[in-house]
Symmetry: D4
Subunit: 165 residues, 8 copies
């Protein structure tokens, strides 16, 4: 098995969104650690997690959060690992608050931000990052991209059937 990724989120209510990342990573045979770590409710745990992650074999961190979403940025400020942020849509502002809170990081501390609620893409980005190190993952990503094409081909056929033409 190649690669080890931690998926963290502020609350178990984020899990229905965040499991999209977990499913992708497992599909690629990557080891996944999932935990609840809240920047606001468990700052100590967050600190401890971020400070030690790279010493425990974790290679990429995926962090999901909504509203004033500080978890991805705070973790990125402490760990030297690449951190992927998933803005989660949990307030009336439709995820725009989470997006701005995650992506607009100041010079010095980057967060690799993906689309609102799109945890699957966070998983795929982690795969691409790990593929820099593990050549077999690069091949699997190329294969995955081929499957996407096949999927669209099938959708095109299904559409023709729907339209009856």
């Amino acid at each position: 098995m190649a690669g080890r990724v931690a998926i963290i989120m502020g609350s178990d209510s984020d899990y229905p969104v965040m499991k999209g990342a977990e499913e992708v990573l497992e599909q690629f045979g990557i080891e996944v650690i999932v935990d609840i770590v809240s920047a606001h409710r468990t700052p100590d745990k967050m600190f401890e997690f971020a400070r030690t992650a790279h010493t425990q074999g974790i290679e990429v961190i995926i962090a999901g959060a909504g509203g004033a979403a500080h978890l991805p940025g705070m973790v990125a400020s402490i760990t030297p690992l690449p951190v992927i942020g998933v803005p989660v849509n949990i307030t009336p502002l439709q995820g725009l608050d989470a997006l701005f809170s995650i992506v607009q990081m100041p010079k010095g501390v980057p967060v690799a931000t993906v689309a609102i609620n799109n945890a699957a893409n966070a998983g795929l980005l982690a795969v691409r990052i790990l593929a820099v190190k593990y050549p077999e993952l690069l091949d699997e990503m190329i294969a995955y991209q081929q499957e996407l094409k096949e999927l669209v081909r099938q959708k095109a056929i299904r559409l023709k059937e729907i339209r009856g033409k």
Copy 2:
């Protein structure tokens, strides 16, 4: 002298905005501590500051930040003191990113948010908070509000002069 307030900000480039709070607090005779504390660049210092502030006589914390502005919310998650957040306009998004990052805190950790770049109001809010404890500040706030009225009265006279009517 009644009350002790800490003003923190992520960078010295925020000081031209944040000194608006300092000036107000000094005008009311409140002791002010000013420091650079960056959530993203000095997470340890931020943690240490937030963990010990209430043990060092600090009664209110004012935190200014721009972009993905995590300083006010992170400090509020660690300290039990009231934290006032000032969104600072430093990105092309005109301070809207800072506003959302500061005000949209999740249940459990409030930040008392004021208007974009309006550090003076953060200072005045700190005065009102301290006035709950120090009765003389309540009187001074009432006096200040009277002065605002007088100021408007003078502006009305000046306007008449400008219009020459």
Copy 3:
């Protein structure tokens, strides 16, 4: 019992949101006064309330309003007490109109704004403000912050059960 907080709102239809503040305050043993006071429909009552609040033992005011939300700012312009504003989401603009109307106050009159619909945080902010005066509340706030951590710990366990791993 320590502290006395008034919670006001423009309409009884705001109560399902605003009772979040009431519940928090009662949990901390703080005396709560709740009333309907509309800046737009009962300007006289609003004026009278704001002018006399600090003379009747009220120490913090929480005001909730939606749309062109003037109640928090108008009350803050009359009372010398700290005013906490809760933007309530009642229009198609998703609370953004209420947020801007409450937070963007001009220099001289601050409103301590919390997240859209997040009345619980308004209650917690009032507790922190009162804790400046009442030391027992500071201890209770520290205890509350510990409970938040415990809550997250339990959520982390629950998540593990859900994931069956």
Copy 4:
């Protein structure tokens, strides 16, 4: 002279924008009263003004304000007269905060809102409102609309000259 209009604003710094309304009204021979009345800094004066305006021959009120712009809505909640609101662009949010604060009034208290910084249109709207009562103003408005056409005709000629074709 037909009609009497009051133009109020929160600060003399709003006058460069608001004089656009004054100029239009004078052009139509309407009596204009201009004053500084701040909802937030002089709430008593604002109340007194709004309560008595209709008893002093004022027929329409134009109110300009920026940021959390409460003046037009608060005056409208007290006076029975038509109130025209001018959102003034004075914050980093480009007048969007003022627009939302003025236009999104709750059921019961309307404010006739015009474009951001467009005080001239507030003046013209006041003329149209007064023209309901004063027939000569209706004729003058029709004449003004003819002049606009002539103006465009001249611009079209000028454009041809610029293009040299």
Copy 5:
């Protein structure tokens, strides 16, 4: 009966929103004309309506529209009467498109814009405008504002019952 107001809208699907204006006007005993007039689908009818409205006893026009809402502004460019615009929320942009299309009129042609979907306020604004001419309407508006206060008083009582305190 004092006053005559036309309510127009682009489609019968706008009627559930726009009847809010009709109900208010009938409550004040004002004559109401309601018609479907679409700027985009019936430009000739719109032109004809706008050109002749003031010659047929109509004193105020209320126009509701959604999306790229051109009806209020186009009618205002042709008629000399005061035009009140109601932005109707009919697209995924939540009425923001309609609001901008109605309120941001260029210098020369004002539209008195009210809140998104708030046709009732358009009706009340029409009443205030007519009250400039018809003194009995001014008295009725003052009475209406008193009723609003009474309504809030009753809501305050109801709230006490709900809270059981």
Copy 6:
């Protein structure tokens, strides 16, 4: 010479933006008519223009407008010709008001909207539309697209020079 396009705008102040369309069209040898036609200030002229354009050999209409930008949509509602709308940035809302006013047209009346202030693209879109009819324009468009590539190739060389590598 193949094709005839009319470029209209509400004011001569829009010309510095709109001449971008004119320059492109002349570059492709297309006949251009330029005129000031304001939906709001000259509704009759606008009507007359839109009603007769297709009878006078005009094949495509380009209309530029800012703020509550009604010109493109109103012209499109009257003419059967394709109408291209250019949102012009002339208000504090940065062209977002013009974009929404032009693009969000209701079912039945399309406006082909291009980017804010991007009149050159309006010209290029007109060329592509005319190329459906005039085969020589299709060849010229293909040639133009080749030139774009050459332009980028030269920029890549220049960049290497700047970087000195």
Copy 7:
């Protein structure tokens, strides 16, 4: 039969929206080709489609996409044909992301953008474009515009019945 239009979209889930274009085009007797072509999942197919469309008798391309909607712009960068873009509302950002991704194209590559989810208007715009070449379509468009008027006339009658007046 006059004219040939291709309708493409990134996924069969876009078809419920995009068939609005197909219905309009069939109503006008225009030949329609419908296919799934994803810029992101089948970039090769997209390239091939865009490169050859004009050689296969296609005269106009309609492309629908949501989120980071690259399909219309990418196709427009390769084909010399006019491309009409339909922003589809599929993310929490309500179609605003798709609108910006489609309309804000750089100088050189125009996309004729219509309203969010308004595929019917994309169809009507294609008809107007084809009508530049095929005179019979111009007559049919004029007839269609007459029908819109008749539709509104009937709606006006229905509204009178609903109101019972």
Copy 8:
């Protein structure tokens, strides 16, 4: 030397922003390739680049673009490598259009998005990604994070000097 990163952008006018990434990468001793590749003006070159990048030793791609910014997403759809997107502020919409066009990618094709105009963070993110493979870069990133702390410490001293306290 460890690692090889390509920085691409649509125009040489993006270089003043994008060189922020180059400077960071050179500081870390990483090999950098810089080129102009425009999704819209040179789609073939973009395709060729994206298809072959991973076969030429490139390990991470940084792509900057403004407006309807398709370059990062299109490259990511073709290459299996991790792609970092930099939204560049070049339109009146302040970079919000570029941000949405880059970050809101559909499921299957992730782009690691950083803050508007923040190319330095794109460089730092590339370093973190490469550090997954090259352990020496992990140490250098940890050292860099220490330097950030030292920088803030010096700023804190400078601030004290400015304040003269």
